[in-house]
């Protein structure tokens, strides 16, 4: 009996602390500085760990200049095909042409640019998480002790805390939006809906120990516009709604997600599509156009890549989002992988194990840049416009641009793509007069 009462007391204190220190400040939009302090400690620890690792490795090999591994492990010769073949042995067709293709083939086999983007980014230095150290080599006792402390802190303290916060966040989102949804349509309703959405977003961001830096806030998406961003994980949406209100676009799901969707759409005009509707592109475009045309409605949030990429590059943008019209507000999101890997490798982890991994990382640190709005020019078609927006996002976020389709995660290369390259080669031969 006494035990139950004691546990009840502890539980009450715990909830009171969580409410007081985290939930209330989120509602008011202020910060008590707890996460800043946590981040400071974390950064210092990781710096110390890096130095120790360097010392350990130095004994074995002389220092080599670190190379960013995000762009691959082999040196690629970027000279265009024509130049290289011309260099080999004049441009006539010779045995030497097979060189160029042979080497390209081998480079592709050792490492291809596309598949690389669907696995987590490599780190320059260990960040004291077991999952990022495939070959755990014993460096020193102190490092191991710090690592063990890290494990305890993450799993026994941070995980329950984050889980509680997430539960509070989701529950209040559902309850709050349902309540607000009962009100008749008015400016009060809109205001309250914004408050609810923002508060719950903030709670959820704290649930992930997120530290987000927003840049160029003056370019924040305005009503009646379309917000476009690169996609790395399902939490991208939360990262963005932490700083503003958007109308989400997506497919109706079942389960918990479905409940959230049904509740929120009462309070705020999100655009949820049934599974059957998604297949009809015209219907989708029409609904989005109607939404955008109404200038009083919140900007819609779209991720044109269509799938999660590992945050080192931006893949092809699907042109559908760019055919709707209206003003596009591009946003670049770049996560810092040192504190926790936000990339969702959907072929490797399901959503639950993904969330678990996120909640047992150190933190989610990212930079969000709001880019100046863009409009489609007269002589541009949707594809060119999409590429222009993509370049702007890639440049700002420091990501590489790849012309590939994110769908390659699951499908094979389209034949049209293949023929392009082969045509180029043949054209080159014809031009140089080796044939005919």
């Amino acid at each position: 009996m006494e035990v139950v009462w004691a546990v009840g007391q502890v539980g009450a204190v715990w909830v009171a602390m969580v409410l007081g220190l985290i939930v209330v400040p989120s509602a008011l939009g202020i910060s008590l500085g707890i996460s800043e302090a946590y981040m400071w400690v974390l950064v210092k620890t990781l710096e110390w760990a890096t130095i120790r690792l360097q010392k350990g490795a130095k004994k074995q090999q002389p220092q080599m200049p670190p190379t960013p591994t995000a762009n691959g492990i082999i040196e690629r010769d970027e000279t265009p095909m024509e130049k290289e073949i011309a260099l080999l042995h004049g441009a006539d067709f010779e045995f030497s042409h097979i060189f160029y293709f042979c080497r390209k083939g081998f480079e592709a086999i050792v490492e291809d640019e596309v598949t690389q983007r669907f696995s987590s980014e490599e780190l320059l230095s260990w960040n004291l998480l077991t999952r990022t150290n495939v070959n755990f080599h014993y460096i020193s006792l102190r490092l191991t002790v710090v690592w063990v402390i890290g494990v305890i802190v993450r799993y026994c303290f941070l995980l329950p805390l984050r889980f509680t916060l997430a539960a509070i966040g989701i529950t209040s989102m559902i309850v709050g939006t349902t309540v607000v949804g009962q009100l008749p349509n008015s400016s009060v309703k809109n205001y309250l809906s914004e408050v609810v959405h923002l508060t719950c977003s903030r709670i959820l961001v704290r649930a992930l120990s997120g530290t987000i830096h927003y840049h160029n806030k003056e370019n924040r998406p305005k009503k009646g516009g379309i917000c476009v961003a690169n996609h790395t994980s399902p939490i991208d949406a939360i990262i963005l709604t932490n700083d503003g209100c958007y109308a989400m676009v997506g497919q109706v799901h079942g389960g918990l997600m479905g409940i959230i969707q049904r509740a929120t759409v009462k309070a705020c005009p999100h655009v949820w599509f049934e599974r059957s509707e998604i297949k009809d592109r015209h219907l989708v475009t029409k609904r989005l156009r109607e939404h955008v045309a109404d200038k009083s409605k919140l900007p819609i949030l779209i991720f044109p890549e269509g799938t999660c990429i590992n945050n080192t590059s931006v893949m092809m943008f699907k042109k559908g989002s760019f055919e709707i019209g209206g003003t596009i507000y591009p946003v670049a999101i770049k996560y810092d992988p040192q504190f926790g890997d936000a990339f969702w490798n959907s072929s490797k982890y399901n959503i639950v194990s993904y969330l678990l991994r996120i909640m047992t990382s150190w933190a989610i640190v990212c930079n969000v840049w709001y880019l100046p709005p863009m409009v489609r020019k007269e002589d541009e078609d949707a594809v060119q416009f999409a590429n222009r927006v993509r370049s702007a996002i890639a440049r700002q976020g420091g990501l590489t641009e790849l012309p590939w389709d994110g769908g390659l995660k699951r499908a094979k290369v389209k034949d049209t793509f293949k023929e392009e390259q082969q045509k180029n080669y043949s054209k080159m031969l014809v031009r140089n007069g080796s044939i005919g």
């Binding site: 490795a57 293709f101 490599e122 150290n133």
Partner: protein
């Protein structure tokens, strides 16, 4: 070979370039990278089959994709005594094939350089010589040209043939000199092949160079 998992030779971390029984002067980091790549291609199996190369999008572009994949399973390249094609290769075989593309090292002497060059040329020779008879015949050469031009629907077979014929004539003139009217040029043997490449420096063109990866980056 002392192994940990999947037959990877266990070498001390960050040590000087390893010269293992494959005489493969690659560092242990590079072997690990290749091993990870091997696992990715084989989908965590111990061996790779031809089908596994289908999962590389970059390779789809390559007109001689078939020949390159074929080269991995060619027993002559795998330094095996027998002839023909293997059905599947393990990581050691994979490394053997990759060794044909290793770059020159600074400390190689004349003899090593010569052997190095011969190895690379032999690899190329095997690519052309598809029936494994030690000679590149006109027909085999035509096949290669056709494959290289296979993407373009506007070029007909005739053009491919004329290119092949022209090239073979040139090869013949280099190797045999002036031929009499009755002489038939049977095909390019490996010695002739070597002659054709004299003076052309392929060592610097036919290699895949690894970037220097910091020793600390043993992360996933």
């Amino acid at each position: 070979v002392g192994t940990a998992q999947m037959g990877v030779p266990r070498v001390p971390r960050g040590s000087a370039p390893v010269t293992s029984l494959l005489s493969l002067a690659v560092t242990s980091e590079q072997i690990e990278h290749l091993h990870r790549r091997f696992k990715q291609l084989s989908q965590d199996q111990l061996t790779i089959r031809k089908e596994n190369f289908d999962s590389i999008p970059d390779l789809e572009f390559n007109p001689i994709r078939g020949k390159i994949v074929h080269a991995f399973f060619d027993k002559r390249n795998l330094r095996q005594e027998s002839d023909g094609l293997a059905d599947e290769i393990n990581f050691e075989d994979f490394l053997t094939i990759m060794s044909y593309f290793r770059p020159i090292e600074m400390n190689m002497d004349e003899e090593q350089l010569d052997r190095f060059r011969k190895e690379k040329l032999k690899f190329l020779f095997h690519m052309y010589d598809s029936d494994h008879d030690g000679k590149i015949t006109l027909q085999e050469y035509r096949n290669v040209v056709e494959e290289l031009l296979s993407g373009n629907p506007h070029l007909e077979k005739e053009s491919a043939r004329s290119i092949a014929d022209g090239a073979m004539m040139e090869a013949a003139s280099i190797c045999v000199g002036q031929m009499g009217p009755d002489q038939v040029y049977e095909g390019i043997t490996f010695e002739d092949f070597l002659k054709m490449w004299q003076g052309i420096d392929i060592e610097t063109k036919m290699h895949v160079r690894f970037l220097n990866v910091d020793t600390i980056a043993h992360c996933y």
